[in-house]
């Protein structure tokens, strides 16, 4: 059985092509299988955000392609691409993740609503997820009434809600104190273990890097180190 969820081939991303070209990504190959818990590290400006944007379909590569679970998303355009993201990729951003006018419960429900899932299913899943991220008692709170760590946990729950292929998190702990960061990581690791959810996250934080099972190091838009296990077949399924 093929467990590949993501296959990125020779990704290049050039900014300011016509003036002084900046190679934010310069020939990145990336292969991710189901159940990975992967950190992308590297100095500021090394291309972490750019890489995550490419594999999440938020930005188009100048060269190369991204294949997710058999679909070449680089060829998808407009609403097709948006719908693909909706059904296949979970996002957690660094900050301002949540819709400020919606409660924690409504934020988690939001994507399932866009997917037109039936009400009963949504209610059930939201309940489950709130419990899983330890915020069952904060269901009715708006983001402004939650701490940074709680907000990020709601964001993870939301990303998880539609059962995506994988979850992308760009520096999810950057705005958190170390205790909250640790809690968030614990939670993500638990979801990874128990639900076999694939996580790909970028970070500067060594303590976060230490929790990852695979660490990819970027420098000047290139992968300079990858601790991928020799055989990935030991992952579940």
């Amino acid at each position: 059985m093929n467990n590949t969820v993501l296959d990125a081939h020779n990704l290049k991303r050039v900014y300011d092509e016509n003036t002084i070209p900046v190679y934010a990504l310069n020939g990145v190959h990336l292969h991710i299988v189901r159940g990975e818990f992967t950190a992308i590290k590297g100095p500021s400006g090394s291309g972490k955000t750019t890489l995550l944007n490419m594999i999440g379909g938020l930005d188009e590569p100048t060269e190369g392609y991204v294949n997710i679970n058999g679909t070449n998303i680089t060829q998808l355009k407009g609403n097709k691409l948006i719908n693909f993201r909706l059904n296949n990729i979970g996002f957690v951003f660094q900050s301002f993740n949540l819709i400020p006018v919606l409660t924690a419960k409504e934020n988690i429900e939001f994507i399932m609503l866009l997917q037109k899932r039936p009400k009963a299913e949504r209610e059930q899943r939201v309940k489950e997820l709130l419990k899983e991220v330890g915020l069952a008692d904060k269901a009715g709170k708006k983001p402004g009434e939650l701490s940074g760590g709680q907000q990020q946990r709601v964001a993870v729950a939301r990303a998880l809600a539609p059962k995506p292929q994988f979850i992308l998190a760009d520096e999810p702990t950057a705005n958190l104190d170390s205790v909250s960061a640790g809690n968030l990581l614990d939670m993500m690791a638990k979801l990874n273990r128990e639900e076999n959810m694939t996580f790909i996250f970028s970070t500067h934080d060594q303590r976060v890097i230490d929790r990852a099972r695979r660490v990819i190091t970027l420098e000047d838009g290139k992968i300079v180190n990858d601790t991928a296990p020799a055989s990935l077949d030991h992952t579940l399924i």
Binding site: L58, N79, R85, N97, P100, L102, E106, F110, I111
Partner: protein, 403 residues
């Protein structure tokens, strides 16, 4: 959900939203009231014209209308008058002789229309006695009495109870003159009319012009405008060969006034709506720019552009709808109050009178106009929302999130 988000988004920047809501309220109430005011003005003008000038229907010889030739009199005037008088839908009716002529004094002369009337019946149809500001109405017995306006009196440098010379053509085409005593000064709200019209008794003109008791005009005042068509039809069947004109045709300038006023209302409404549109565009543009990052996030999560477009559109329309009840309530209260009390323009009485308007206006609004205004306001809201909403379509998720 979209509706919920839109509604809550409105209240994120309370101050800004309240400004727009207030603008909608002001614009809407001003617009509604303006239309009602114009309606009142027009209605009042039309009513005044019917009740005291032109009546509902006028009957003439087909050749009469243009040149007021004395020979175009109604052959069977008496019979027509008799039938009309017997009709219960008729409030009052009278026959007249209308001729063009001249009025002269030692100080000068002026071209005029001579209205030769049956005093009692004329009073019932056009309330002529009520228009006297000094002097007396036609009495019994005396001959050659004249009612005139103060303006014309001044022009001729005459006073009450002086005599003036009226000159006109008789039935044979000979010029006839006679001295008439000024017994009363009348005033209508229509100044131009006053300056060119005098009133005399029909029997005086009849004998001077040799008309043999014929009229060249019959005016009919109905109890209600609703019976106008039927009455007209009845008469034209009974007396073929006569012209029966409804008030809309007798006084095309009143019809014109109505349509000009309607255009004015549209221009004013246009200005109000334009101001509103600019306010809305401005506000929503700010709201959209402020939320670039958030909209980028929504795009990233998988909310498609049509939904985002709808969300912004809905926000705008909700904002406008939120302002509607207040605006409507305010306008309707103002209309309800002024409908009873009337709006007085005593200060501008002269100006109004020179256009044939009275100085008190009673605003009124009909359902169709109200619907139209609401439709225009909502349309304005939607159209002005299109631009800010369209801006969101150009956002790229990656770039927006970086902001």
């Amino acid at each position: 959900m979209l509706l919920k988000i839109s509604w809550r988004n409105i209240w994120r920047n309370k101050k800004r939203s309240i400004i727009i809501i207030a603008a909608v309220m002001t614009g809407l109430s001003a617009g509604i009231f303006l239309v009602a005011f114009y309606n009142g003005m027009i209605e009042q003008r039309v009513n005044t014209a019917i009740q005291s000038e032109i009546s509902h229907l006028q009957v003439h010889h087909p050749g009469f209308t243009n040149d007021y030739d004395i020979n175009f009199s109604l052959k069977n005037g008496a019979a027509i008058l008799k039938q009309v008088q017997a009709d219960p839908v008729v409030k009052a009716t009278t026959g007249r002789v209308i001729i063009k002529g001249m009025i002269a004094s030692a100080a000068g002369s002026s071209g005029i229309t001579i209205n030769a009337v049956i005093p009692e019946q004329e009073g019932l149809v056009t309330r002529l006695p009520g228009k006297l500001v000094s002097g007396n109405y036609f009495g019994a017995g005396k001959n050659n009495e004249l009612l005139i306006s103060q303006k014309l009196l001044n022009k001729l440098k005459l006073k009450l109870s002086n005599k003036a010379i009226l000159t006109f053509q008789d039935k044979e085409g000979n010029i006839t003159s006679a001295a008439f005593r000024i017994i009363g000064i009348y005033k209508t709200i229509n100044t131009p009319y006053d300056e060119t019209n005098v009133f005399v008794k029909i029997q005086d003109i009849d004998s001077l012009a040799g008309l043999n008791n014929q009229f060249n005009e019959i005016a009919i005042l109905l109890h209600s405008n609703k019976t106008l068509k039927a009455t007209r039809l009845k008469l034209s069947t009974a007396f073929p060969g006569i012209t029966i004109k409804p008030w809309t045709e007798i006084s095309p300038e009143i019809g014109l006034t109505v349509s000009v006023s309607e255009q004015m209302v549209f221009i004013f409404m246009g200005i109000i709506l334009l101001a509103l549109a600019f306010g809305i565009i401005n506000t929503m543009m700010m709201a959209v720019l402020e939320r670039t990052r958030e909209i980028g996030m929504l795009l990233a999560l998988g909310m498609n552009k049509i939904k985002i477009f709808k969300m912004i559109l809905m926000e705008t329309v909700l904002l406008v709808i939120a302002g509607c009840p207040g605006g409507i309530a305010f306008a309707f209260t103002a209309i309800a109050i002024t409908k009873r009390t009337g709006i007085s323009f005593k200060k501008f009485e002269e100006v109004y009178a020179s256009f044939g308007y009275s100085d008190i206006v009673y605003p009124s609004l009909d359902r169709r106009q109200f619907g139209l205004i609401m439709l225009l306001v909502i349309l304005t809201a939607i159209i002005s929302a299109l631009f800010p909403a369209w801006r969101t379509l150009r956002l790229k998720p990656a770039a927006s999130i970086r902001k």
